[in-house]
């Protein structure tokens, strides 16, 4: 899910760039040498995984997985997703050059929210904690992105209200799909390779 080129008004996409730059600066703080290749390589996986198509009735949709990025990369999910969006704009012409900022906020912001939800799991001592909170993170990541997208459209002009509503509605089935996939992945990772998950101890970033 992303906003295409040409839709948003100039103030909105410019503000998107400003906001994304600020978020990137904050989330990339204290990045050490070791993280550079590691984040890049994991970003490549998310980029590739987002090409997976899941059948949805007669059509099929691509996975978003920004919630999972939050779970795995913590705050670093934001720069990672921004990299993915830049690459997507350059390689496919998906999204577009002017909307890199707003698309990063939309998906990367969703990932940050998902990470915060994921971190809440430490307060609960329940069975299948990773599955449940992974699913919540997946759902929250998707729906937050949908809300940012709708807001960007609405602020662009009232002519886009109907589109915004449609887009938001379309995020609901996607939210369920993401919840299941991300929840299952989170549970799988916690079993097989727990060190890959961000913030395994409460309160730490990545």
């Amino acid at each position: 899910m992303h906003i295409s080129e040409g839709i948003l008004s100039t103030p909105v996409w410019v503000a998107g760039y400003a906001g994304a730059a600020a978020l990137a600066a904050v989330t990339m703080r204290n990045m050490d040498m070791e993280e550079i290749p590691k984040i890049s390589v994991i970003t490549a996986v998310f980029f590739v995984a987002s090409l997976i198509k899941v059948p949805l009735g007669p059509a099929s949709i691509h996975l978003i997985l920004n919630g999972l990025a939050g779970i795995v990369l913590g705050w670093r999910a934001f720069p990672a997703i921004m990299l993915g969006i830049i690459l997507q704009a350059i390689i496919f012409g998906h999204g577009g050059i002017t909307v890199i900022g707003i698309n990063s906020i939309m998906l990367g912001g969703g990932a940050l929210v998902a990470y915060m939800v994921w971190q809440l799991r430490h307060r609960f001592d329940i069975q299948r904690r990773e599955l449940i909170f992974g699913a919540l993170a997946g759902a929250v990541g998707t729906i937050s992105s949908g809300i940012v997208l709708a807001l960007a459209l609405v602020t662009t002009g009232e002519a886009f209200n109907a589109i915004a509503a449609t887009v938001l509605a379309a995020h609901i089935p996607i939210m369920f799909i993401e919840a299941v996939v991300v929840g299952v992945s989170a549970q799988f990772l916690s079993r097989v390779k727990p060190e890959i998950l961000a913030g395994n101890t409460p309160g730490t970033g990545n």
Partner: protein, 335 residues
């Protein structure tokens, strides 16, 4: 030899949309119970050919018939049920949380009932010697174990035809030996795509050479794999077993030795090849020791020291290209 034709490939070609042709009129037939090695240099089209056998790729022209069923969009389910492919890298085939789930993946896709699935998983794990590993995660297994597990995930599917892509790659010698024993003992129809010509020589009676999208030679392994000229033209190397044998001949003629002795030794090395050559005795050594090696996890025993006798080859001390006894060539160079 059983007359039921399990794999019937009739003049298939495959060209990518960008115009790159990989298969260029390839034909072959494999009968039930045959064990066939498919050799050829990198980039010859071996992987593409394999993907045609179960319809993961569909031929641009020509047809592939698996046990009487023509491979096509409507027959994919049936065909994939019959053909099991064990890929080179086990990690490409293991993506479930537990060993049990990985082995049950195929049977689940077949829609079998729970009891049947459990029975099949149990059996497949037994064959590869991984009983008791059900609840483990494949990520925590050693490479050799993962390689065996990958085989189990295909066996549980109970295909009649097994296709292997480089089964011995990265295996330590002990696991390689176990695999060879299992392959030799299996009664399935087996196609073995490999660079490991020694495994081809040991397991398969028949060998096909694929080069540049075509089968350019097809015949008894001990013919094809001893044909130095053919192998070298196709960037392959003589099997080690044979190289050693040749070497002895080379030495025979450089050592300081009287002629009578030389003759005796030469005769021995020579006789030895012909005793197991195309005169009827050829399968004796292949089968005599393979009675109960159906389990990969068996300890390696003395058996493997008997496995090479029919592979020896004699052409004197010359290292030229024209030393093969072409007089009884019963295979055809199609190139």
């Amino acid at each position: 030899m059983n007359e039921r034709i399990m794999i019937d490939v009739d003049d298939i070609s495959f060209t990518y949309p960008d115009g790159h042709a990989v298969l260029k009129g390839l034909s072959c037939q494999i009968r039930q119970g045959e064990k066939v090695a498919l050799i050829g240099p990198n980039g010859a089209g071996k992987s593409t050919f394999m993907s045609h056998l179960n319809g993961v790729q569909l031929a641009t022209s020509g047809r592939v018939v698996i046990d009487g069923i023509e491979v096509g969009k409507t027959t994919l389910r049936e065909v994939r049920r019959k053909v099991g492919i064990v890929f080179q890298d086990p990690d490409d085939q293991l993506f479930c949380p537990t060993v049990f789930d990985d082995v049950a993946f195929g049977p689940l896709n077949l829609g079998l009932d729970k009891a049947e699935i459990e029975a099949r998983v149990k059996e497949a794990l037994h064959v590869v010697g991984l009983e008791g590993f059900e609840e483990r995660s494949s990520f925590h297994l050693s490479f050799g174990e993962r390689k065996r597990l990958a085989l189990a995930t295909v066996l549980s599917y109970q295909p009649e035809i097994l296709v292997f892509d480089e089964p011995s790659t990265n295996m330590d010698p002990m696991n390689r030996r176990k695999l060879i024993n299992w392959l030799k003992a299996s009664d399935k129809t087996i196609l073995l795509c490999t660079h490991d010509l020694d495994i081809a020589l040991e397991v398969c009676e028949r060998c096909m050479m694929l080069t540049d999208g075509r089968i350019i030679a097809d015949g008894p392994s001990k013919k094809i794999l001893y044909d130095r000229q053919l192998l070298e033209e196709n960037k392959l190397e003589l099997p080690l077993a044979l190289m050693t044998h040749e070497l002895l001949h080379g030495i025979l003629y450089t050592e300081d030795m009287d002629d009578e002795h030389r003759q005796i030794i030469s005769k021995f090395l020579h006789a030895h090849r012909h005793a197991h050559g195309p005169d009827g005795h050829e399968h004796v050594h292949l089968h005599v020791h393979s009675h109960d090696h159906s389990h990969l996890h068996e300890e390696v025993d003395e058996e493997h020291f008997h496995s090479h006798p029919q592979h020896q080859h004699d052409h004197g001390h010359s290292h030229g290209h024209d030393t093969l006894p072409h007089t009884h060539d019963d295979y055809d160079h199609k190139s």
